[in-house]
């Protein structure tokens, strides 16, 4: 009971810090804080249509978050999720653009999702091999690959896959409607994407909680040398963890293409890869909390979309709130455990 109240107290304190900080920022920028909060709330949970948009953002965030749980367990900073989403999107688009796809839409949509997984996994494995074989820090490898992925997408949109007539930032040509993932008519939400995200979540819970894999990843993450002496192969597990992370991220990219935008866009990853890192950190690397945080972040993202129109503010406010929330949580958390730990705390 005491622990419960302490948690409530800490969460309250975090929210208070967050609230004060955000309000100050808003006052500095000359915006009315309460109007902003109201619009964010109304713009995310105000109607069923808004809620379905939130879920549309929740799907890629949760998928990427699930993937990151594997890499964080083993102590890798997989910062390349963004690029992995992009490559998933590229591979999915490639399959859906085939001429044969129009003949057998169902088969090819399934194939395209698989291709997305493969694309994301390839991009992640490159970063993993650079780390294990090449000695390149995974942060820089992943980050560099993000930019490369962005370059590939731009090249495709302005080069080989450009729309007949004009190539523009609005992306490739729209797929024919029979190649869209099925969706609920009014809400425009694809149940397939939702089902895939939930499957990924359950799979991750099972693998990390009840399979040897979760334990092994954690063992290597906590003490690589001891795990090696125990007979685990750290390098192999790192590649496997990256493969899972990239696969899930690639699937998220595939869903964005096949189920949301129905074409390849320059901004297909919408920053969800970076955001997912914050989600998992705020969830304290916990499988159960990750989807909840992802939902909250999705609300902030969707809610701030209309800020430019209503109040002439930039929608990046959501990013400010999300970032300060992680920092506030870290600060309050470390205040509690002050003096109880020695040395640095690695990501576990």
């Amino acid at each position: 009971m005491k622990i419960f109240f302490r948690h409530v107290f800490e969460s309250g304190l975090t929210l208070l810090v967050l609230f004060l900080f955000t309000t100050i920022i808003l006052l500095v920028s000359g915006a009315p804080p309460f109007a902003v909060y109201f619009y964010i709330f109304k713009g995310s949970l105000g109607s069923w249509i808004k809620l379905s948009q939130v879920i549309q953002v929740w799907i890629p965030l949760t998928l990427c978050g699930c993937g990151l749980l594997y890499t964080f367990r083993i102590g890798l900073w997989n910062i390349g999720v963004e690029g992995q989403i992009m490559m998933g999107a590229v591979f999915t688009t490639a399959v859906l653009r085939m001429d044969a796809a129009k003949g057998m839409p169902m088969l090819f949509m399934g194939l395209s999702c698989l291709a997305g997984i493969v694309g994301g996994a390839i991009w992640a494995i490159i970063a993993g091999v650079l780390k294990t074989k090449g000695g390149v820090n995974e942060i820089f490898a992943g980050l560099g690959l993000n930019f490369v992925g962005q370059g590939i997408i731009l090249w495709l949109i302005f080069g080989p896959w450009r729309r007949p007539g004009i190539a523009s930032m609005s992306g490739t040509e729209l797929f024919p409607q029979k190649l869209w993932l099925p969706f609920f008519p009014v809400l425009r939400l694809s149940p397939v994407g939702l089902a895939l995200a939930l499957t990924a979540l359950i799979l991750t819970m099972l693998l990390l909680r009840y399979a040897h894999m979760g334990l092994n990843l954690r063992a290597i993450g906590n003490n690589r040398d001891a795990a090696y002496l125990f007979g685990l192969k750290p390098d192999r597990y790192m590649i496997i963890a990256m493969m899972f992370a990239g696969g899930f991220a690639g699937l998220a990219g595939g869903i964005q293409v096949a189920g949301v935008y129905h074409r390849l866009l320059p901004s297909i990853s919408s920053n969800y890869g970076y955001l997912a890192l914050l989600v998992v950190m705020l969830a304290n690397y916990n499988v159960w909390i990750t989807p909840l945080v992802a939902f909250f972040f999705a609300c902030l993202n969707v809610g701030s979309i209309q800020l430019p129109m209503m109040l002439e503010l930039d929608s990046s406010l959501s990013g400010v709130i999300q970032g300060s929330m992680v920092l506030a949580t870290l600060a309050v958390y470390s205040w509690r455990i002050r003096g109880k730990t020695s040395g640095g705390t690695a990501a576990t």
Binding site: L130, G134, Q150, S316, G319, Q322, L327, G343, G344, T345
Partner: protein, 326 residues
């Protein structure tokens, strides 16, 4: 005629490299003391925004630079505080701050987008600018370029030639030993993080007031922070080598613009991302240059060996590991 063209080309390289040099030096100082400030990319944007807005509102460029430096210092202090006093992962905090400061810059600077603002003016050095060739490159520039050149020499001198610099390095190499010698590693790390942050802030201001004048989304400085972080590794945590890396990078950038002219079919976006595969490749080469088998193999090849020796640099032993007394 050819000489004139070359000197203009290299003058452009030096001017364009200035913010990267400053950011790289700042991060080298920070990392030398054992703290990784991963937030560079966002910090540069936030300080660029600050500098532009302040200079625009007050018509005072100097004030813009000062406040931009302060912003850089505050962000760096946040990373250092979370690491030193709260024992949180520097990488985690730095990464969160990268994203947060970037979004903060876009959010607060929104209403100042695409405005014509003040810019720093060129200030040729009398006499020195008349040195053939070199004068045009180094002394027909603005004050910031001179400042960055002075900082390269100053940083090196401070780190390797002064007692305080020795203490700075010792804190990054072995904080326990420094503690035993009566130096408080925590305050030193905090101090040098802030110093590094100030330089990063000035780097940001250099973008919005000189190299890529103005503010917008995107500003044009995106990605520069990551390049600076890699250049610190490339420079082997040595300020002079790191600065040389920054000039090399700037040269390649200018070279890329020329390539664009020769290869008009390749879209411009491809050239914009070209530095990043290069960055990975550099790190790969750096990492191989440290390997024992490669070093043994290079033993017989004189020139190769000296190249490898140049590439190698030792990472501060306590980098990223916060100090605690027990």
């Amino acid at each position: 005629m050819m000489e004139l063209n070359l000197s203009i080309l290299f003058a452009g390289v030096v001017a364009g490299a200035t913010p990267i040099v400053l950011a790289t030096l700042g991060e080298t100082i920070t990392e030398k003391a054992g703290i990784i400030n991963l937030s560079l990319d966002g910090t540069i944007l936030l300080s660029a925004m600050t500098a532009f807005v302040v200079a625009f509102e007050t018509h005072n460029i100097l004030l813009g630079f000062v406040l931009a430096a302060v912003v850089g210092g505050i962000v760096a202090a946040t990373v250092a505080f979370f690491s030193i006093y709260l024992h949180q992962s520097q990488v985690a905090v730095g990464f969160v701050l990268t994203l947060m400061t970037r979004d903060l810059a876009y959010f607060l600077g929104n209403s100042y987008s695409r405005l014509q603002g003040p810019q720093i003016v060129p200030l040729p050095v009398p006499f020195l600018k008349d040195i053939p060739f070199l004068g045009q490159i180094f002394f027909n520039q603005n004050l910031l370029v001179y400042f960055s050149l002075a900082m390269i020499a100053g940083c090196w001198w401070y780190m390797y030639k002064t007692p305080l610099g020795l203490q700075l390095r010792s804190v990054g190499e072995n904080p326990r030993a420094s503690y035993a010698r009566g130096i408080n590693p925590k305050t030193r790390q905090m101090m040098y993080s802030i110093c590094g942050g100030l330089l990063v802030g000035i780097a940001g201001a250099t973008y919005s007031l000189s190299v890529k004048p103005g503010w917008g989304r995107p500003q044009g400085a995106e990605g520069a922070g990551w390049i600076a972080l890699v250049l610190v590794i490339f420079g082997g945590w040595n300020p002079i080598k790191a600065a040389m890396g920054a000039y090399l990078f700037s040269f390649l950038q200018v070279f890329g613009i020329y390539c664009q002219g020769w290869l008009p079919t390749v879209p411009a976006q491809v050239f914009q991302v070209a530095p990043f595969p290069l960055m990975i490749f550099t790190l790969l080469v750096m990492s191989f240059a440290q390997k024992e088998s490669v070093l043994n193999w290079a033993e017989g090849h004189g020139r190769l060996k000296s190249i490898l020796a140049f590439l190698s640099g030792s990472v501060p032993s306590a980098l990223g590991k916060p100090f605690s007394r027990d």
